[in-house]
Symmetry: C2
Subunit: 525 residues, 2 copies
């Protein structure tokens, strides 16, 4: 029966590669790092299918001839944001583990405020530039495709009067999906994004998840939406809710799937396209293939901390290299830092590795990862077990989900020892259950009616040809939270019950008085 499934995938791929389109015009919201790596694959397919893709960019550092770029200016030196990003990474990687929950929460609020400050400065570069907005308006785009990690795409889509499609990994505690997208997420079984929980929660975990939702919703309300609402209202010249603007999106393309995400309620305009960027492995460059083949029966380990983290402290690098030196596998480590003194002969450092091609190589035994969703999906696609050393954002939760599914082990960079790392690698490679579980996730990943990229393309083109998809939006968007939870109905029904009870008591007491009154009267007579 697996044959038919593969035939299906082949036909769909063939469809994607060969069918012609009446090309549409796609405007792409600016984004960067892993978000851009992910999105680029979808954009390339859109171009291959005859659409014109215009990308808004902060600055032109990786011009790709397939797309047209529109750059915009920001009113502050970009070094400032680089410094902010470094601070954020340092806090997440080294400081957070030393702090109490309260301190982490307060620091997160500070960071969120700074992040929003810079994001709105970026947005100024587009929305407050008459020249840019006129240029975009004149282009008559058919759709705006945006990763909402940088706010403002909804406002621009609204001003341009074009449909909007989001592509999104997650928002903290799913705040955007729940409050703006109206996707239900009961805290009793839907772990908040970044909560480090899985869907299987005991009582104390449910208390933690509930509190996590509550605290972060409060944070969003006071340190995000308030400023966004003010900004949007200023631009529109009328009171405008940023969350309502976000809720106008025609589609939400969520970059997970039920291979590793917890099953949860969804909506007709939420599509799950996790692994959107994955593809079969290509042959390796000759020198890498030779190194990989030299590993013999032991095979190789692929190791990366992703696109944002290029080096770690000397001490940590030595601790890691020392563990790697103790295992029989060969290791390909993407690492731009200083070569550690303890580096073994079996380990090679690379500025860049063909990660997907390596993960799809039959000699690959394990993947050491920071837990970014892109890398995880490549490992799931090829069925490779993992050792996760997560750093920030969704990475800890990602690895915890994989651990719960028996396809990964998790380590903490600040507390792990050489022995911990060596043992984790040994277990993940030698305990067959990890490979089997990774293969099971891979089977779930592949066994769907169409590939995630084809699905994403279908709904983007759907939005273009139907000029939006408002008929898929739930009516909840038109209700207040009070109405949504039927609180007005409950108050009304309880008032009626109360009124009837009062009338009943009053009537009884009247009857009672009349009876007693007449008795007394009779007695007197």
């Amino acid at each position: 029966m697996e044959q038919q499934q593969h035939l299906f995938v082949c036909i769909l791929l063939a469809f994607c590669l060969t069918s012609s389109t009446n090309g549409g015009k796609v405007l792409v919201w600016y984004t960067e790092a892993s978000h851009w790596i992910n999105m680029k694959h979808v954009l390339e397919t859109l171009v291959d299918r005859g659409h014109a893709v215009t990308v808004l960019m902060l600055f032109m550092d990786n011009k790709d001839s397939k797309f047209k770029y529109e750059t915009f200016n920001v009113s502050f030196p970009l070094e400032e944001i680089e410094k902010f990003l470094e601070d954020y990474l340092h806090f997440s990687m080294y400081e957070m583990d030393q702090l109490s929950y309260l301190q982490i929460y307060i620091r997160h609020i500070e960071l969120a405020k700074m992040d929003l400050y810079y994001n709105l400065k970026y947005l100024d570069g587009i929305i407050k530039s008459e020249f840019m907005m006129k240029k975009l308006k004149d282009e008559n785009f058919d759709v705006l495709l945006a990763d909402p990690i940088y706010p403002g795409s909804d406002l621009v889509a609204d001003i341009l009067g074009i449909p909007l499609v989001f592509t999104l990994r997650f928002s903290l505690v799913n705040n955007w999906e729940r409050h703006c997208g109206q996707r239900p997420a009961p805290p009793s079984y839907v772990p908040g994004a970044m909560s480090k929980l899985t869907e299987k929660m005991d009582f104390s975990e449910r208390v933690w998840n509930f509190g996590f939702y509550l605290l972060n919703d409060l944070m969003y309300q006071h340190f995000f939406w308030k400023d966004i609402d003010k900004y949007y209202s200023d631009v529109k010249g009328t009171p405008t809710s940023g969350c309502e603007m976000m809720g106008k999106a025609d589609f939400w393309l969520i970059r997970t799937y039920w291979d590793f995400d917890s099953p949860h309620p969804i909506l007709p305009n939420f599509k799950y396209v996790g692994g959107i960027h994955c593809k079969p492995a290509k042959p390796l460059p000759k020198h890498i293939e030779e190194f990989v083949q030299g590993s013999g029966e032991h095979g190789v380990i692929v190791f990366t901390f992703g696109s944002m983290i290029n080096n770690i402290t000397r001490e940590k690098a030595n601790m890691i290299a020392s563990a790697l030196a103790q295992i029989p596998q060969k290791v390909l480590w993407k690492y731009k830092g200083e070569t550690p003194e303890t580096l073994g002969a079996n380990t090679r450092l690379y500025d860049w590795i063909p990660q997907n091609d390596l993960l799809g190589h039959p000699k690959t035994r394990a993947f050491v990862t920071h837990g970014g969703t892109n890398g995880i999906y490549e490992a799931i696609y090829h069925g490779v077990p993992m050792v996760g050393i997560p750093m920030f954002a969704d990475q800890p939760s990602n690895i915890i989900q994989l651990k719960a599914r028996g396809a990964a082990l998790i380590l903490n960079l600040n507390f792990m020892t050489t022995e911990d790392f060596r043992d984790a690698l040994t277990i993940v490679i030698n305990d067959k259950s990890y490979k089997e579980n990774a293969m099971q996730l891979s089977r779930i990943h592949h066994d769907r009616p169409m590939s995630p990229r084809d699905e994403a393309i279908f709904w983007i083109e759907y939005t273009m040809r139907n000029k939006g998809a408002k008929h898929l939006r739930v009516q909840a968007h038109e209700l207040t939270w009070f109405q949504y939870h039927s609180l007005d109905v409950l108050v009304f029904l309880l008032s009626i019950v109360l009124l009837i009870t009062l009338l009943f008591i009053k009537a009884c007491s009247l009857c009672f008085r009349r009876c007693c009154g007449s008795k007394r009267k009779t007695k007197r007579e």
Copy 2:
């Protein structure tokens, strides 16, 4: 851009028709009337794809060589159930409009109790027959496909130890989907099935919907689940919840889609396959084609009350025929009753009509329907506007949804006059907006990644090759209602807040007393 969509559909159809499978063994739960008409199309495709299909049947009246049938015995004369069905139809068609809401509710409870009584008698025929259960066990089926309208399929799937796929139009107030399937449905914007509401509700309608959920949930609890639980517990020999059993289903194939259903929250194992039975029109039989062509530019009207209602009272039939005689269109009316005296020359009565082929004919201007989902979907598929004269079950709600989308008008058989009917037909045919809206629903219906039948087949085969789909079930199935709504967490957190407040008050009062005490002491000194 529409080209590519059609190419897509063609490729998917080609896949369905040509790809080979390692055939599985499908057991089909007994069902009848429109439920069977609908399911048969899926089963035929399953057979065409190499699967062996065995159908449980009450009795063998329409043996089809494509499937294997297993008949079972029931311990009461089948005339009894026919009489019950007649009573139910008479009540729904003629009596209900004369009664108060309370009377309708009480009568519904009586009917539901009778229905369950007969349904459990049917179930006896399978589950209490050692011979039948052994036969089914020995067959080693790969999946049980069931329309849960007749209860017990979940229990049998559990005993046989095989996966279960439901195919379902609706349950009253979505009780099964919500309570057993864990699909969220806030009453503030999800109209209860059979509530005669759309998703756009004003305050009074939300009150009605809330009350409708509440009353019918109570009815289910006391006049359905209590008996089902008792029956299941007796069979299993241990306390067993029928609703939990239902919740074990691997997939719920819901027979609607967002063309006419209200968008609402769904779950990863709920798939919306409305129009599962629809297909392009075939040429008409010669005598019908000649009659249709004779209609000239005015075109024809297709008229049916569905598979269950073959005639109506003489008075009603005359009133209807008289209206039809006044319009310029020709009419094909599926009607087995006595020929009405007022029948016009433009109207022909038929025992049977090729409904789908007629609805797909370019001369068809309107569809007069009782509002059954099968017929409605054929009209949507071909983009034909409707006049609905609903009778029972989901029919009134179906037509109300279509009316809200501007593709139908609604009439009440008990209160309509000849003029009402004639005018409704004239409006639906001559006001272009009805045709345009019907075509818009048709576009939504067709514009999806794969046809509903292909999607249903995909997930049925998915269940077989993966031996179930438990990884798509939400964790809510493992929670009590108290836990689901985080009430235990709330009680815990409120207790802590209360405790802290009490401790604070106690501490303040102690401090106060000590201060005042020492002052008094000082004063005394």
